[in-house]
């Protein structure tokens, strides 16, 4: 099963179960979604529930807010994160705030799907990551799907939740393979220990998690240590409990993220570690993030602008050697 098929299955299942679930976005209906996530659904549920919208993101999210007020469960698709910036007024001023400003009188059961990240040479206006901004908005729950099983379970959770949820997907993961465990329920707000280890905790999410996993054998071999790898899964709320348990065991933390380093999401994790876990740390925290540059088109420059498995291995090994890990 592919990641995009798992997302499709999750939407399909909720639509079958609940007639108030509708999907809206650019090319989500007859076209089947630009990443084929909604493929085949219009044949099953009709154009009334798979709503092709104009290329007008402010309205995609703004209309979804109104649909949710009116009693539907909209699933809005933003074609790519950079386009989603046009919808930030609706996301931040409306979607995130109506419940609080109305003292709980307005409930917004809605999801905005946010495909993002450096894909393949799409250049600066189609390659960015916005979890740092979205996770900083009180009122939003922000999930980040790094694999097939989580994508399937967490998207269903998001659609059936009564809270407004930002569901981040990575554009290079749509064809990632994996299995769904249909028998075991997950808590989408909990982080997941992907690999257990003793000597350092590597925290990541979305596509960088794959790059970390690719780098880990080399790191372990060269340093002679074992790495614990954690997929954050939920970026707001952050599951500090799982991080704390791991950090108490390993005493060292690395955060690997694709967004730009200044103000990037990982700074929150490192700040937490410094404030709350200082006496458990045997080494200064390490943060690997994208460069503070717009994402360039040229492939060599593009890869130079973000962490890669090679760079992750190299930098963690250098950090480990320097700090006696």
């Amino acid at each position: 099963m592919l990641y995009r098929e798992a997302l499709n299955k999750a939407i399909d299942k909720t639509m079958e179960m609940d007639e108030t679930v509708v999907v809206l976005g650019e090319d989500v209906g007859l076209y089947g979604g630009s990443y084929r996530v909604t493929e085949g659904l219009v044949a099953k549920y009709g154009e009334r529930r798979l709503i092709d919208t104009p290329i007008a993101e402010l309205s995609i999210v703004g209309n979804a807010v109104g649909m949710a007020i009116g009693g539907l469960r909209p699933v809005a698709e933003i074609m790519t994160a950079n386009f989603g910036l046009l919808a930030f007024d609706q996301i931040i001023n409306h979607m995130a705030k109506y419940r609080y400003m109305s003292a709980g009188k307005i409930t917004l059961p809605m999801v905005v799907r946010f495909p993002q990240g450096v894909s393949r040479q799409l250049a600066a206006q189609h390659s960015e990551s916005y979890e740092q901004m979205l996770s900083a908005v009180p009122g939003l729950t922000v999930l980040a799907a790094s694999d097939v099983n989580y994508a399937y379970h967490a998207l269903q959770f998001a659609i059936m939740s009564d809270d407004p949820i930002i569901f981040i997907e990575h554009e290079l993961l749509y064809n990632k393979k994996g299995d769904i465990d249909f028998e075991t329920a997950i808590d989408p707000l909990k982080a997941r220990v992907v690999k257990e280890g003793q000597d350092m905790t590597i925290v990541s999410y979305l596509k960088m998690l794959d790059d970390v996993m690719e780098a880990v054998p080399e790191i372990e071999k060269q340093l002679g240590k074992s790495c614990e790898v954690i997929d954050l899964c939920s970026l707001n709320p952050i599951d500090y409990e799982t991080l704390e348990t791991s950090l108490k065991k390993t005493g060292a933390i690395v955060v690997v993220e694709e967004d730009h380093k200044t103000g990037g999401f990982g700074s929150q994790i490192v700040s937490w570690a410094a404030e709350e876990m200082f006496y458990s740390l045997d080494a200064p925290p390490l943060r690997l993030a994208g460069e503070d540059v717009p994402i360039p088109y040229n492939r060599t420059l593009e890869l130079a602008s973000i962490p890669t498995p090679e760079k992750i291995a190299e930098k963690i090994m250098a950090w480990g050697n320097k700090n006696g890990l």
Partner: protein, 323 residues
């Protein structure tokens, strides 16, 4: 219009103005803070639109106290909200600009100019989806028609033939800028003409507003798709109480106030509905008592508990304090 309804509309208009004058007084006195956008002058428009669209959902702007009360919210709850008290309709977390009451199908109270329009489009989609016929009304000012949210919304509502009434309150000023300085024409209905049926009404004539909104509602209910109704109004105060209103001449204000909707409604009640001057006085007194009670209620209401800071952020997720 029958006598009972005419009287009711007049009462709510007088109540609205009395409420706004009291709000202004208490803003000056420091009981009310933040931004306070008064509806003085436009009561006929606000009340008649709400009464006419009594069934159906309403989305509106930050200038909404009079509409909220005409819609059925208790003036005490509204005043308490202005005072920031726990008894307020939004428990003191919204303030003047954010009044919400789904039990009266009233969804704010939005303070991003034009921001509520796409929400109303989505709600109209939901109503059509559910087969509910009353439709949705969205109120916005002339200034909002210059924004992208408005243009996206007329396009979407028209394409999808949604039961949505776009009700434009054209008071001629986008905050302090005369609308013709930032738009190519005085009447904004022109922008909607290629998309939908448009109508215009004298917004200072409550009866005419009532009839026009009724007609527009019946059009949207008949599957014609959306309607754009433009009401030409006049606000007597600045954009908010913080605005000294220096950009309008005395002459302009005089002409403006000469069209007063409350005076006109009063004349109509006396001349056509056989209501006596004494009965008018009784209505005015009733409105004053109601506002006095609302102020007393708001003044004596308690402050929100500090723990409320973390309440109602999420429906399901645990609200928590960050250490």
């Amino acid at each position: 219009m029958n006598k009972l309804l005419a009287e009711e509309i007049y009462y709510d208009m007088v109540l609205g103005r009395t409420f706004e004058l009291a709000a202004k007084e208490h803003y000056m006195g420091g009981d009310i803070a933040g931004f306070l956008h008064l509806d003085i002058g436009q009561e006929g428009f606000s009340v008649a639109a709400m009464k006419a669209f009594d069934k159906g959902d309403v989305f509106t702007t930050y200038r909404e106290h009079v509409m909220a009360i005409a819609r059925g919210m208790d003036p005490k709850d509204v005043m308490a909200e202005l005072f920031g008290k726990a008894a307020g309709i939004s428990r003191g977390r919204g303030g003047s600009m954010h009044l919400f009451d789904p039990s009266h199908f009233f969804y704010g109270g939005d303070a991003i100019v034009g921001g509520q329009i796409p929400n109303a489009v989505g709600c109209a989609y939901a109503r059509k989806y559910q087969g509910r016929e009353d439709g949705v009304m969205v109120v916005f000012g002339d200034g909002a028609t210059n924004g992208g949210a408005f243009f996206e919304s007329i396009n979407n509502a028209s394409t999808q033939k949604l039961p949505l009434l776009f009700l434009c309150e054209n008071n001629g000023y986008a905050i302090g800028t005369k609308i013709t300085r930032v738009a190519p024409f005085e009447k904004q209905a022109k922008k909607a003409e290629p998309y939908m049926i448009t109508r215009e009404v004298d917004g200072m004539d409550a009866l005419a507003v009532y009839e026009s909104v009724r007609e527009a509602q019946s059009l949207i209910q008949d599957g014609h798709g959306p309607v754009f109704l433009e009401a030409m109004t006049c606000r007597y105060e600045g954009h908010s109480v913080a605005d000294a209103n220096t950009y309008r001449s005395k002459e302009e204000m005089q002409i403006c106030k000469g069209k007063d909707s409350i005076d006109r409604m009063e004349q109509l009640l006396l001349s056509q509905y056989g209501i006596t001057p004494d009965a008018i006085k009784t209505i005015q007194k009733r409105a004053q008592n109601c506002v006095d009670e609302a102020v007393a209620f708001a003044a004596s209401a308690v402050e929100p508990e500090l723990a409320e800071l973390y309440e109602d952020i999420f429906a399901e997720r645990k609200n928590h304090a960050v250490s």
